[in-house]
């Protein structure tokens, strides 16, 4: 419950977002039990997905990137005196989108177990590389920038003691460095400090005038019930896109909105306050939460930045993604699904009764929040392992994350590299030990398939450009 409320509030304040909320809370979860910590993080994520829509509807500034498409029709509805309608549509669509996709995921779990059990060390290594490659084509910036960021993240995990030998690397004789760079510190630095520096440059509050919240909750609820096809389709789009590593809700809400436009009549007035626009965006972004759990829990490949933080939380509490989460540790997975299911019902109730009256939160000046978040980040980073190296690291990652983001380098790729580095090295080393005269990657069908997929992604833009050039000259 705390996670949902905290996440919703975080999502409502433009400039913050689930990545930051989860990252600053992560060090505090050390003191609580593993399952409770994971449920807290998932609830924050789910709450933030809904919370972003409140700012989008009331002040035309999405609280999170996942609610960007909600502004297209949500704010016009607000301008027409139907803010409460839009907020209730958002709450109901979000709750339905999230609950529907979770139910589907529960039914798909046996199939997922079967697929996951086919994966061995070579496949785990290749799926990590595939995840990194995929991120570079779903985020802004060139592929080379994304791959460089990912490689750099993987490189940094070399510091400390490797898994397979006891030989310290790049420690300069300092015992503190034997444990290497904490991925939690990297997450806090990039998502919290980096974002605060960016926000400091942007400054101020988005809403400059009082927000009138008028309209009817019942009318909004009726709109959702009148559009079941749009709601279900959008939830499914969100779930499918969420399953693509690196995609996330920032993409799914646009694609879902685009699809709703395409499927509607020309006179439907999208962009002028059509409730279908709000339904499409909100059902998709909460549906993404469930979808992004698939690669995260199955293969340890985060579907988004928030999933990267969740993955960090799983690893921090000794829960390793993979087949164990669907066999020995099935209770962890079931707890997460149940928490999301219940959480979506709470979003519905709280959204309809509480957050429709909480517009003032969207007007909080970020100047007040920035130093507090920085304190959270610095205190949390020191609290992780009680050493100053982590504090200096969080500062360095914050600055690095800011400049990477500024110049369109994928910070998700950097974070993914750092989170997965140890797993990647371990699986690569094991694969090389398994290899005989022929590398093991070339003797396993699933590995070959993954290699082909990676090559298609990496070479796709080159082929596409050449193809487009040849078509232009004929």
């Amino acid at each position: 419950m705390f996670g949902l409320v905290f996440g919703t509030v975080i999502g409502m304040i433009p400039g913050l977002g689930p990545n930051l909320g989860m990252a600053v809370v992560l060090p505090l979860t050390v003191q609580i039990e593993g399952i409770a910590a994971i449920l807290l993080l998932v609830s924050i994520y789910s709450g933030a997905m809904y919370g972003g829509s409140v700012a989008a509807i009331l002040i035309n500034a999405p609280g999170t990137a996942a609610a960007a498409a909600t502004t297209f029709d949500g704010y016009p509805m607000s301008r027409k005196g139907r803010a409460r309608d839009a907020l209730s549509i958002s709450a109901i669509s979000s709750a339905f989108g999230g609950a529907f996709t979770i139910v589907i995921l529960i039914f798909l779990s046996p199939v997922l177990v079967f697929i996951v059990l086919l994966f061995g060390s070579p496949e785990y290594f290749l799926i990590a590389v595939l995840g990194l490659a995929l991120i570079t084509i779903v985020s802004e910036g060139s592929m080379v920038k994304g791959l460089t960021a990912g490689s750099f993240g993987l490189l940094l995990t070399s510091i400390g003691l490797p898994v397979m030998t006891a030989e310290p690397r790049y420690t300069f004789g300092y015992f503190t460095l034997y444990n290497g760079i904490s991925f939690v510190v990297a997450l806090i630095g990039v998502f919290a400090i980096g974002e605060m520096v960016k926000l400091a440059n942007e400054q101020g509050v988005i809403a400059q005038s009082d927000v009138e919240v008028e309209g009817s909750l019942r009318s909004g609820a009726k709109e959702v019930l009148k559009n079941p096809v749009t709601t279900i389709k959008s939830a499914l789009i969100g779930g499918l896109i969420g399953a693509i590593p690196g995609a996330g809700a920032s993409i799914s809400n646009f694609i879902s909105y685009g699809e709703a436009m395409r499927a509607s009549d020309a006179e439907d007035g999208f962009g002028e306050g059509n409730p279908k626009g709000v339904i499409a965006s909100e059902a998709a972004n909460n549906g993404t939460v469930s979808g992004s759990l698939i690669p995260t829990l199955s293969f340890g490949i985060p579907g988004s930045g928030s999933m990267a933080v969740l993955l960090g939380g799983l690893l921090m509490h000794g829960i390793r993604p993979g087949p164990d989460l669907f066999t020995t540790n099935l209770y962890v997975t079931q707890s997460i699904f149940l928490a999301l299911l219940v959480g979506n019902l709470v979003i519905l109730v709280a959204g309809l009764l509480l957050f429709t009256r909480a517009g003032i939160i969207t007007r909080i000046d970020t100047t007040y929040i920035i130093p507090i978040v920085i304190c959270f980040a610095v205190l949390g980073s020191y609290g992780l392992r009680n050493n100053w190296f982590d504090v200096i690291s969080v500062f360095a990652f914050g600055v690095l994350g800011y400049y990477m983001s500024k110049h369109d380098y994928s910070i998700i790729a950097l974070v993914l590299g750092i989170v997965l580095g140890t797993i990647v090295e371990e699986n690569l080393y094991r694969s090389m030990q398994l290899s005989g005269e022929v590398p093991v990657f070339l003797t396993r069908p699933l590995s070959m398939l993954l290699i082909v997929a990676i090559l298609v992604i990496l070479l796709g833009p080159v082929i596409k450009n050449r193809w487009g050039g040849q078509k232009g000259t004929t």
Binding site: F152, T165, F254, C375
Partner: protein, 189 residues
């Protein structure tokens, strides 16, 4: 060419992106060379990743001097999302909040809010190391808010809140942040 002109030409070409890439290159080269002092099992991974990083950084640093086809591959975004739809509509309806994305290199080192934030954060960390995070935290918050000309009442409230936050962290996570290099929780060392 005078020294001033040469320095001016260098500063025109070397922006924050180039500095960031040079830093990454330095780290990657160092780690690549350092890997030769490890055994094979410990060296192979950092060597591979350092090589990939060096290659990527060099391509990006010298992208303007690459053949046209390679330059396009290095420079062009290949995002599968229709960026035109996303960016145009966002910029129309929300407005471009970011004023710093096209700033010149000179502006980075001026008194931009982001630079001040980083500076204050550095001072916060250094001060915490000397005196203890518990005592420095409210001063950092106060300094930040005062620089941005926030009202005194809010400065006082948020500074007190931040002290409470630091105290909560100290009790919850059992960390000794009430002492530093020069100060031992009440006694100067």
């Amino acid at each position: 060419m005078t020294l001033t002109n040469r320095l001016s030409r260098v500063s025109d070409r070397v922006g924050s992106e180039q500095i960031m890439l040079l830093a990454m290159l330095s780290i990657a080269v160092y780690m690549f060379i350092g890997s030769y002092s490890f055994s094979w099992a410990a060296a192979f991974f950092p060597r591979i990743m350092a090589s990939a990083t060096v290659l990527g950084v060099l391509l990006l640093l010298f992208r303007n001097y690459l053949p046209a086809a390679l330059k396009q591959y290095v420079s062009t975004s290949v995002s599968i999302v229709n960026e035109d739809v996303r960016t145009e509509q966002i910029e129309e309806q929300v407005g471009d909040r970011s004023d710093e994305t096209d700033q010149t290199p000179e502006m980075i080192w001026g008194s931009s809010p982001g630079f001040v934030t980083v500076l204050l954060m550095g001072a916060y960390i250094f001060g915490s190391y000397l005196v203890g995070m518990l005592w420095v935290t409210p001063f950092f918050v106060a300094a930040y808010l005062l620089w941005f000309e926030v009202r005194w009442l809010y400065v006082a409230i948020l500074s007190a809140f931040s002290f409470g936050l630091a105290y909560t962290f100290m009790r919850l996570l059992l960390i000794d942040i009430d002492s530093g290099l020069l100060f031992d929780g009440g006694m100067l060392l």
